[in-house]
Assembly symmetry: C2
Homo-oligomer: 314 residues x 2
């Protein structure tokens, strides 16, 4: 099950987006980032920290082996520096390293990321003595596919019930949590954080459109959406996570919002990306906008160059 | 004038697309490509050869120093292996290495590519004893900005008139051509080879639309266009070179063709890319299609990773 396929590994490009339960102490955040950056062949592309969530998110990318090593070293450093029992923040969490998702880029298959999740999960459990739950595409228990289900009750529930409740038994590691808590390790498709701004001050319009398009209320698959006010009182936003742009492409989501807004007599002002989008999602927008018969990510010169530089891809 | 600015060089990403007068002998083409590939830090992304044109085009990308070295080594190999006086093909040419354009990628400035053209031009002249003409953005003589003007009369004209006609005096190198001929070295914006297929068998429609949109007949700036038949007798194509997608973006070109076709009662079937497009052009399509306030090339995860891997960009 953990068999390593060298052929797919050596030609793969992956992303890892680990979340750590520290969003205020800069020395701690710097030390965790430095641990990830100490691995040759893995690059930290982005760091996002938030004091209210008291949480830091790193975006690491590169080839599978180095990215896995970088994620592990960051988790090891977080286990030394963060005591989850002292952690307060509005975002749910179960551990110092709360969640470690592996994400396929380009033509990399999800199987590669599932294998990575299993390997890194085993290692976090064995070397850091931390209980690990496999989630997302890497879940072995179907009840652990969704992250909110894995995190229900958070660290505090695990501390009191992990030893006694068989439903909480980790996939790897000890049946108890220490100061580093537990970690969810998994695999998922790239996530695009995408907002659309509407030319109305009426929050109910954004909320209604969010309801119309999100999967949980019968809208588009793999779309999470909420309506928000913005800093500008004259406009509102539909704020989204597109968790699989192969199933619901950005163009489809935008067009659906435009239709829903039009029906309500409201204009779409503009789109906004939070963070980055994978080349695949952007190539797909180009394909649809200009009616390309095909437009693959490696039709983008920089993507082709990246593949050649790293020796990955076709 | 040739002063090297280390700051801009070290954070730059460039492309070079040298054209060689050999499209049939595979051993010769392989040797030239191998010369380009022998440089660490430069990558050959594409090779296109055509027997009718009897011509090979390499796409090399990377950081400025290595790309310049790769272009020079390929030109040196071509000078050893190709005798232009024996070359026959339908494409105009003046030398074994016919043209060497340097192209800025990402946020790289044109100035970097003009400097590269001057340096490589000087070196080809000095070390290969080949006359060099600076063209495009690197031209010192305004009459040499356009490549067709530089190539008028081709190799044969240079052989008979170079020594006697002051207008043919090269920017660098000897006032005579040997078997390697002469080389045009220059700088230009990325070129996107882009075709749009129309749902009509009527070639005159494609020709009329090409006339309407191309710069030379009063259409869109930086657009070259011609109408063509295709292998499918039911459709025709507008075939284009977009020589500056900052001035005429792909979205604008596509919309203009769609309008022109609609006026003639013809539907646009699909778009087709020949080769690759720079991330900047693709990001711009995404920006316009989904009304992004901004959408920079490094909003694409793979572009950001490439910049980090090569240590270039912001």
């Amino acid at each position: 099950m953990v068999s390593r396929s060298d052929a797919s590994w050596s030609s793969a490009l992956v992303e890892c987006v680990p979340n750590f339960s520290e969003g205020t102490r800069h020395d701690v955040m710097d030390a965790i980032q430095a641990a990830a950056e100490s691995v040759r062949g893995a690059w930290v592309l982005d760091r996002h920290a938030d004091a209210v969530h008291n949480r830091m998110v790193l975006t690491i990318a590169g080839t599978p082996g180095p990215v896995a090593e970088a994620a592990f070293r960051a988790a090891a450093r977080a286990a030394q520096l963060i005591d989850v029992s002292q952690h307060r923040g509005v975002h749910p969490r179960i551990g110092a390293t709360d969640v470690v998702p592996f994400v396929p880029l380009g033509t990399t298959s999800m199987r590669v990321c599932v294998e990575l999740a299993v390997r890194v999960g085993r290692r976090i459990a064995a070397e850091l003595d931390v209980p690990v739950y496999l989630y997302g595409e890497a879940a072995r228990d179907p009840k652990r596919r969704r992250l909110p289900d894995v995190r229900r009750g958070e660290y505090e529930r695990l501390r009191t019930h992990l030893a006694s409740d068989p439903a909480l038994a980790p996939d790897f590691g000890p049946p108890r949590v220490g100061a580093a808590g537990a970690t969810a390790v998994g695999a998922r498709r790239p996530l695009v954080a995408y907002n659309v701004t509407l030319a109305t001050p009426d929050l109910s319009v954004a909320r209604a459109i969010a309801r119309a398009i999100r999967e949980s209320s019968g809208g588009l698959p793999a779309v999470q959406a909420r309506g928000f006010r913005t800093a500008d009182p004259d406009v509102v936003q539909v704020s989204m996570n597109l968790v699989d742009t192969q199933r619901s492409p950005m163009t489809l989501v935008f067009e659906r919002i435009r239709e829903e807004a039009e029906r309500r007599g409201v204009a779409v002002l503009e789109s906004e990306l939070v963070g980055m989008a994978p080349a695949e999602a952007v190539a797909d927008v180009t394909r649809q906008a200009l009616k390309f018969g095909r437009f693959d990510p490696d039709a983008i010169l920089e993507t082709r160059l990246l593949e050649r530089v790293l020796g990955v891809g076709t």
